[in-house]
């Protein structure tokens, strides 16, 4: 019997493959999934060029890092130029363009090839020094963690699962082709399992590929040595953790939206309800917090998207999950929640009728 079920599940997956991977209706899922890859790539290219540009400028206007340390506010422009030489870039800002005497700000830029310094002069005196750090790996890791938890998990994977899993049953009801499966000696539970695995295969492939590419695009801007050191340290573990969280998000959200497609004629309302519940998670009391998928997924993320002092307070509130669950608890809860939803969905599948005229 198990052999027959296995064969039937594989056959359903094969049939669903085209719909889940290559449906025109599902193109937006790819956009959602791969948009961050494009952004990381553009950012990496931009930073690499900027770095090359700084190196070039440092060659043309050589200044050593130790000299920068000696520049303090209160120095005159002439003193700064005497120590650092001519800036690679300067601009004068006027309060009143009609009278050059009214000028008040002068900006000078210097670089040592890695760091970029901007000096603000007012009335010939240095009043402010702005230092832009080079883009470091820890900084990029934090950006990745934030983007992963607040865009990728909450929006991209969430809506990607809506697009793929809801359509597994609801889409076929609308296309009037669901009866095709119902005319075979296949248990409804087996059909449900086949469709779930088909959706899971598609979402896991699409979204884990995207996670892997985002990771690669994030690292691309760094020198080979930096990358090798990082991977030899926590890099591979973090990478594996992000891939696992991506797959688990597909497992969990997939089951929810498969059930939504079976239980509701109009999936928009339950989808919005789930979205609101997941989004409200940071504001919920601890007990309720543990009834949402995002709580466990965030608990599994290797880098905490920690509150940054420059981030708005609202975001700080959002990204501080209280008492993250242990890995074992998080994985167990996601799997149990998934099984519970699938059992409920299979009970509904048993009662499913083909009545296209009302759909």
């Amino acid at each position: 019997m198990m052999k027959l079920w296995y064969k039937q599940i594989v056959s359903v997956i094969r049939l669903e493959m085209k719909k889940t991977f290559f449906s025109k209706r599902g193109l937006w899922v790819y956009l959602l999934a791969f948009a961050p890859v494009a952004l990381y790539m553009v950012n990496s290219v931009h930073i690499t060029r900027q770095r090359q540009n700084l190196v070039q400028l440092a060659t043309e206007h050589p200044v050593s890092r130790s000299v920068f340390n000696g520049i303090k506010t209160g120095l005159s422009r002439d003193q700064v130029v005497e120590k650092l030489g001519e800036p690679y870039w300067q601009r004068t800002l006027y309060h009143d363009r009609e009278s050059e005497k009214e000028r008040s700000f002068v900006l000078y830029k210097y670089t040592d090839g890695k760091n970029d310094f901007t000096y603000h002069f007012k009335d010939g005196k240095l009043t402010q020094i702005k230092h832009r750090d080079p883009d470091t790996l820890p900084k990029s890791q934090l950006i990745f963690a934030t983007s992963f938890q607040f865009y990728f998990l909450r929006l991209a994977i969430f809506f990607g699962c809506v697009g793929i899993f809801v359509n597994l049953f609801r889409g076929e009801m609308l296309d009037k082709s669901l009866h095709f499966y119902m005319l075979t000696p296949m248990r409804r539970e087996v059909l449900l399992a086949g469709k779930y695995f088909a959706g899971l295969l598609a979402t896991v492939v699409i979204f884990t590929s995207s996670t892997a590419l985002q990771w690669w695009a994030m690292l691309w801007q760094f020198e080979r040595g930096v990358i090798v050191d990082f991977l030899a340290g926590p890099g591979w573990t973090q990478f594996g953790a992000y891939l696992s969280v991506t797959a688990l998000a597909c497992v969990g959200y997939g089951s929810i939206f498969l059930a939504v497609g079976l239980l509701f004629r109009n999936p928009i309302i339950p989808t919005v309800a789930v979205l609101l519940w997941e989004s409200a998670n940071p504001f919920l009391p601890p007990l309720l917090k543990k009834t949402s998928m995002i709580y466990y997924l965030q608990s599994l993320c290797p880098v905490t998207a920690s509150p940054d002092k420059n981030m708005p307070p609202v975001i700080n509130l959002l990204i501080s999950p209280t008492g993250p669950a242990s890995t074992l608890t998080a994985v167990t809860c996601i799997v149990l929640l998934t099984l519970l939803v699938l059992v409920l969905a299979s009970r509904q599948a048993r009662k499913l009728e083909i009545n296209y005229s009302t759909d």
Binding site: Q8, S177, H179, F180, P185, E353, N355
Partner: protein, 314 residues
Amino acid sequence: MKNDLITLDNVSRFYGEVLGVNRVTLSLPPGITSLVGPNGAGKTTLMNLMAGLTHPTRGRIRVLGLSPTQSHRLFGLVGYATQFDAFPKGLSGFQFIYSFLRLFGYSNAECKRLANQVIEQVGLSDAAGRKVAGYSKGMRQRIRLAQALAHDPRVLILDEPLNGLDPLVRAETINLFRRYATEGRHVLVSSHVLHEVDMISDQVVLMSGGYVVAEGQIQGVRSEIQERPVKILIHCKQPSMLASKAFEHDHVVEAQILTEGSGVLIKTRDADQFYRLLNHLALNGIDIEGVTPADDNVDSVYDYLIGGEEKVSL
């Protein structure tokens, strides 16, 4: 022996307040059974109930002893060609049947063999590699029939299977039904045209408004129908002469010349005799332009069969 029957015991199905079928009690033996009724009579609902695609609001159904809710057992025995004209996207005729058979658990080689065999049986071998989406209506009808036949079922449920078929394929399909019936299988066919199925049916179930209005051996239904005058419209250039010649025969009970004088509406108790008479008149100089049965549809049969009674027992 009881397991050879399809039985429905006081089966009703309502869609909210809309009646699908009501209080249907049937016991169908093997052979060709025709479900006949106009659109909305409840034929498709009854077939869907037998196949478990919908569930009865009340009553009990057994197909060869199995409940339709046991779809995993039922569809080993039952093949159902629905009226739904939709197919899984992007599949060719062969892929459609092949994929369907894979869901039965057959091996790859067995699926290929059975798919090719049944596609040949319905005369679609040349088009097997083409996408179903590009098929004509008749071809789609045939591929649905192939799907129902593919796993060699004991019970064939076919919703309007002759719709859209050309005369040659229709004749071949009817022969196929006959062959299945002679092998002791059930062939349950729906139609809204009684004349389409009365020649092939062993038994007939007439439906109207969700109720079974008549059921039994086809001979009984046919004799009921034969006692009823049939209307035939004849377009000709000499309607008065045709009417007077027709009236010389006892079986013609009424002749009505059309107001525009383009023809005559004859009511006869014996259509076969009247058609022979027409041939004779045509050979003797009456220029007949066209002959159309004026009430050759099941609605008029009901009008007659039901009469003032709720149900006619045959």
